[in-house]
Symmetry: D2
Subunit: 394 residues, 4 copies
Amino acid sequence: MTLAPETALAGLDDFTIEVPSWAYGNSGTRFTVFSTPGVPRTPFEKISDAAQVHAVTGLAPRVSLHIPWDKVDDFGALATHAKELGVRIGAINSNLFQDEDYKLGSLTNVDERIRAKAIAHHLDCIAIMRETGSRDLKIWLPDGTNYAGQDVLRGRQDRLADSLAQIYAALDDDQRLLLEYKFFEPYFYAMDIPDWGTSLLHCTALGERAQVVLDTGHHAPGTNIEFIVMQLQRVGRLGAFDFNSRYYADDDLVVGSADPFQLFRILNEIVETGGHTPSSAQNGWAINFMLDQCHNIEEKIPGQIRSVLNVEQALAKALLIDRDALAAAAQAGDVLGAHAVLMDAYDTDVRGVLADRREARGLPRDPIAAYAASGYPQRIAAERVGGTQASWSS
Amino acid sequence: MTLAPETALAGLDDFTIEVPSWAYGNSGTRFTVFSTPGVPRTPFEKISDAAQVHAVTGLAPRVSLHIPWDKVDDFGALATHAKELGVRIGAINSNLFQDEDYKLGSLTNVDERIRAKAIAHHLDCIAIMRETGSRDLKIWLPDGTNYAGQDVLRGRQDRLADSLAQIYAALDDDQRLLLEYKFFEPYFYAMDIPDWGTSLLHCTALGERAQVVLDTGHHAPGTNIEFIVMQLQRVGRLGAFDFNSRYYADDDLVVGSADPFQLFRILNEIVETGGHTPSSAQNGWAINFMLDQCHNIEEKIPGQIRSVLNVEQALAKALLIDRDALAAAAQAGDVLGAHAVLMDAYDTDVRGVLADRREARGLPRDPIAAYAASGYPQRIAAERVGGTQASWSS
Amino acid sequence: MTLAPETALAGLDDFTIEVPSWAYGNSGTRFTVFSTPGVPRTPFEKISDAAQVHAVTGLAPRVSLHIPWDKVDDFGALATHAKELGVRIGAINSNLFQDEDYKLGSLTNVDERIRAKAIAHHLDCIAIMRETGSRDLKIWLPDGTNYAGQDVLRGRQDRLADSLAQIYAALDDDQRLLLEYKFFEPYFYAMDIPDWGTSLLHCTALGERAQVVLDTGHHAPGTNIEFIVMQLQRVGRLGAFDFNSRYYADDDLVVGSADPFQLFRILNEIVETGGHTPSSAQNGWAINFMLDQCHNIEEKIPGQIRSVLNVEQALAKALLIDRDALAAAAQAGDVLGAHAVLMDAYDTDVRGVLADRREARGLPRDPIAAYAASGYPQRIAAERVGGTQASWSS
Amino acid sequence: MTLAPETALAGLDDFTIEVPSWAYGNSGTRFTVFSTPGVPRTPFEKISDAAQVHAVTGLAPRVSLHIPWDKVDDFGALATHAKELGVRIGAINSNLFQDEDYKLGSLTNVDERIRAKAIAHHLDCIAIMRETGSRDLKIWLPDGTNYAGQDVLRGRQDRLADSLAQIYAALDDDQRLLLEYKFFEPYFYAMDIPDWGTSLLHCTALGERAQVVLDTGHHAPGTNIEFIVMQLQRVGRLGAFDFNSRYYADDDLVVGSADPFQLFRILNEIVETGGHTPSSAQNGWAINFMLDQCHNIEEKIPGQIRSVLNVEQALAKALLIDRDALAAAAQAGDVLGAHAVLMDAYDTDVRGVLADRREARGLPRDPIAAYAASGYPQRIAAERVGGTQASWSS
């Protein structure tokens, strides 16, 4: 039985996407960072920009912070600023890749002084979580090696396990550790957490409040990402997504812009288990659907709005899949029939019905146009003159 | 302190490589299978060929069988035949990819009758293990799907877990289950065991006598395979290797022919933990170093000899690494210095010292030349006329 | 100015897709070929099946033949059979991968006798072109090497150039040579025509009636295929497509099933130059849009119908792109705006309007349902009993 | 007939490698640039460092410059400085990726003012060539797009062709244009010169003094690079190498460190045609063997020395290949025999004989140790304090 669209799309009601503070600052490739008028100069201005995304979409009520990029004297004031703008602080992200000390590793460094410093940085982050009400500590470990023989791989894993254990022990009971993996970059020979298997092994060793972060841009070419989504849900360890797009290497593009069908297949696995609804939480923890992307050459706030809408669109299509028909066709061994059920949902144009939903909730039908017409872009371009624009290096 | 070569190479003394019966038959691509004079027509002839590899190298005392390709009326007689030729039966490999029933899956099939049949096939294999003295049941699961939506991925995992549990329960206490993974092929959209993480999850669920098989040709482009070797050893679950080479997709080339440095790096991780020595066995189980390759266009027995020698050469070089110097350089943060220690071992020409070792053990200095001069190739070409040559499809 | 859909879709009026005779026979991976009830046993039966695809879609009036798979005593009779069923013979494909002689190469073989034989095979194909009215000789060269050092790469290119020159010289003035490239497979180390650059170099050396075939499954991971489409059109050498889909290696899936957005981007480049219309012909030669795919586990005729419809759908969406708006946004440096113009066309659901067009032309609204209801599948399953089913190996 | 090593290695006599000025400055990933004591602050200091590499290896008599990074008031003085240190200025590299204007393209930019500026930058480079005696203008075009639809791909090619024609026209008769390609980066969707085919098409359109640069790190995964080396030599358009290593994405590692066998295969194709000797020059132009790499975490001058020695070692091994034996085995269809001929050369340890050669020429047997013992590293670490260290961003 196919659900009527309006019934199926009720699955969108409680769905939210978290946006990253760093998407509003300047970013770039290893070759250069281009600057853009109106870019925020402070964490407060980043939050203001993020709030614009939520204002026109109703989908993005949380903002991830990155420490120390978003370090402020008074995190309580930052949380209040967010609240006044209708959003709140989400995950706290640690930074292990910009300190000179971390040249040869942070949580895996063979130098105990440096390793202790990297662990201590996370205790600072946990303190910020308490000040901001954040429950998610997200760790992307950029550690690795560039040359075979540069270091003993096994020793790095053992040190990593020990570092993570110290961090995990410092968390409160209502806080969790989200551990990301990345196939390559910034190191070229061996990343210390290159795949979901490694991340999962560490999470399992830590305890129930350690979960894996799946960044859609962090896999080898040809990897079936939705399979991993399924597998991590199956073992109750899919903690969060970092959404973005990529064609080959970097992972900064608007989610859904490079392979919208893949995004749909990923969200299909989410809908299959109800993972998009808060009630699906395992051990009290729901999946945190986050963006992790930058806008190197395009406008930043519109880039975020587009991204949020792309995820919503893919989820809407995934909700339209007639799962009974698909399962029946699969059971009957009707390969093309089952595939066709999936494609029928994907081929549906949901833009109109999503605009209707927005309108019914007092939101603009066309969020990008509404933002452009809001006067905000002109205002920040005019006001944010002087000072240093936020970027990856500040 | 650098070991003298003769001391370091003592690590070769107990090292053995298992060869696959199917390497002696015809094989090919999806486009065609070319035939070769002298190819075996029976499992007994395959064992005879495998014994030639051991006779000239002293390295390959076991032969893997593949069921039903190697089905004989009297497996005791086959084991005796092997013994008389100085070798013995190694792992038993099941076949889940050539029965019409398995078109849409075997251990994962949604049809309970077919799934039961696939499980029962493994009970037959276990019976053959008992008859031949084999302790390793190797499962490569070729199941998967070609189209998104064709089947529910989660359901396939659950059925797989149940199938494996039934098989594992049938094993004797001195038998283990070796579970292989493969990134792609023969299915194009989603393999049901695509990566080491999935294989490990199933092994962990099964019990201590379930271990992962790492086939060197079964990864996405750019994957750091030695990292996986390290990680699986770290959790005590590296059961076996399937050695071979590949450049892009197929995995049939002579091991060490496409990237000899990678093979060396893999064996470096083995030597790091002593995994090449029987005394390293975890829970009583040593790593089984097997070849899994075919010789589509080259001569088959010489292809196997070359392969065995390539593994020996890579292991010898890995044994020469000055691990103290490498660790000291790594500890000092001397990136190029540590790398240079590794490269010094790799750049060493060990062919002469390995020939000396062979000679000292009554083996020919040049195994390939010795085989060519043995009269065996001429004899099998003359004798093996009539009957059907063994191949993947018989 | 956006065209009204009905105006834009006029671009579909003269668009046709050629289907391959081998899609109706059995096929498989290197591991096995599964059989299917009702599969054709003769080239005549293959043509009959292909005609069903055209009957319900109106899009597929030509059938490619493969020699010797489609060898018949009387090609005139085969052409007449096709004509009576409303279709005609398209490209003639040579086969260089199933003769024992071609184990180490065909048009590149170092053995002059074998090379001459491979050339002569093409003269036979040209004779068949004359008998069937075919104007396209399509060559996919499966030659290559498995091991570094196996042969001198340069010598193979020189022999290839000479072989192609002999074949080209035998063509009539109204016949062309279509030269395909393939990144990998069936050889593992070096393919002799691995990329579009190599194919183009040979075509340029041959003359104006030599053009490149772009098979959508024949590229390295991450390759931007639409860029190649653009580049080959720019130099007037895009002769034909072989459409299909793949995720990693094999290239047998229904076109548009793995990455429908990529197919849309490819057709966007076609529409950009008008390459979908016969009037766009360069030097009198239009692009031949062909399918080259097999249906290993799914039903074959429905698989072809789905494929043809997927191409039509992607082309329809590409025709809807508001090119003036896109160019204006690009000119203005509006990155997200220009991208949004493209996505607006892609996100449009064109299934209804395409069904309307079919109905207006006397075709069924739902071709797959119409085929299923036609009685044809039941008839062939009942009638085609006895004899050998067509497959890659017969 | 196998050449005696001393005879074969005579092929090294005239072989030289060009080193890049930017290898001596700081560099990094998109995440950060780590600083190193002793890094040069001026182009003069970079030349001094490069001269150290030549002093201990005798292999690196030229230094590539990058404009504007190496801009000085008096290029004649810089050339004299080089000459005094025993080296000279090599290729001049233009920079099209760090000016804010180039955010959406340089030689392809839709804005005619920006495009003219990018062309004019090359006229400046040509002037510098005249001042420094450089004959090679090297262009790596970083242009591309991040999003499908962002710009019309065809239009970008046409503007590129026009820009290159203007630059080419400004060259003197004894100067050539070297045009590089890169599969991906810094743009994510479509690079404007992604492959050798595109580079070659533009070179062919320009004239005989336009040639392709092959950077060993600029290909899709799985690409057979030595095939491209062969093909470009075959059409007389291989102008230069940019040597480096990579595992997945970035291309900054020491050449030969990731896949030394690949480097050997590449140099095998060079030796096959004699391309390593100046006498092989086509149209008066020899292949320029350059390094293009950076040393993010390792010491920079030792990194360059190691790189130069790795290329020398690979070339020495390639010179040892018994080409008569290989050709004879290939002619006989002896697949493993021909491969074994190649591997015999590769497996040879040439470190000793290369040290002997150096000693015979008055060079240190161990260049890295000699550099470490020279006092130079301590001197620059002490002297180069204050001022800004050279890096990609200055």
